[in-house]
Symmetry: C2
Subunit: 145 residues, 2 copies
DNA sequence: TGCTTGCCTGGAGTGCACTCCAAGTCTCTA
DNA sequence: TAGAGACTTGGAGTGCACTCCAGGCAAGCA
């Protein structure tokens, strides 16, 4: 496997539940379609592009955005990172590393490893709180009876 | 158990790792001590009081805040809710219900139950993302070799 | 031909959760 | 008696992640 091929594979496997309604080749979606598919607003999609969280999206002959399946995959991955609390600045950093090419593999991996640690810690915090919530809810139930 | 007793117990059991360095009776802490104990800033502590997230804190003869163990317990619980992403407005709502008395038991329980659902969903999201991160990190590792 | 719909841009505005500021008070130590 | 340090207040400012606005363009339809 070449590094370039690995990079593609690494960066495309956003998640198992990809939303890619049309096969490669017929995959050019208007911003409105992407809004419907991702739940993001058109404002947010344009903003993501402006701040460099997406590389420049293709345009139609009259300047309108045309997204492809790779864009959807990327948006899905970004959605996951966002859901897990990664700051937008870090996601932009990751996107920049991606554009810089294969020599940034280690930096990208490090960024993801660090984020994974954050996520693990956060899960532990949430579970500890869940126990407290269970206890309080139980007590309220007991007091109400 | 009276409802009042239940309310006290329910609302004091913030967590197992309470930071309460002095026993009840000698428990009056300056804002600086509470900053050191909780990690919150003095600004934030005053702001919490201003918005009603804490009921009015005792004052010394010259108007300075004096926190007690109950305040610390409450701050600890608030910290947990904050960590798990509850909006401040919801925490204020909970604090208001608490001040209104025993007849708000059901409402308080409902609020916590709803939040517990949010937390559970969030844990599931985090775990799904963890799987994606593991996969990508693994691929980067493979590509680097 | 005019109207609607969907899209474009740069820049301003919003909501949240703090965070800081200015000007003042009080207490303690040198 | 002076200075340092910890505290007080209301109100303004900050950073983040959007979110909206004004003004305009292009395509499709009555």
């Amino acid at each position: 496997m070449t590094e370039a091929a690995a990079a593609t594979e690494v960066d495309d496997c956003a998640s198992g539940t990809a939303v890619r309604p049309r096969p490669d080749g017929q995959d050019n979606y208007t911003i409105g379609e992407v809004v419907a598919l991702t739940g993001l607003s058109a404002h947010t999609l344009r903003w993501y592009e402006r701040i460099g969280l997406m590389s420049r999206v293709d345009r139609s002959h009259n300047g309108q955005r045309r997204y492809d399946n790779d864009d959807l995959r990327w948006l899905e991955f970004v959605g996951r990172l966002r859901l897990t609390g990664m700051p937008v600045a870090d996601m932009v950093r990751y996107a920049e590393l991606l554009r810089e090419g294969d020599h940034t593999f280690a930096a990208r991996q490090e960024l993801l490893v660090r984020h994974r640690e954050d996520v693990r810690r956060h899960i532990a915090d949430l579970q500890a709180t869940l126990a407290v919530l269970d206890f309080k809810i139980e007590l309220y139930g007991g007091a109400a009876r």
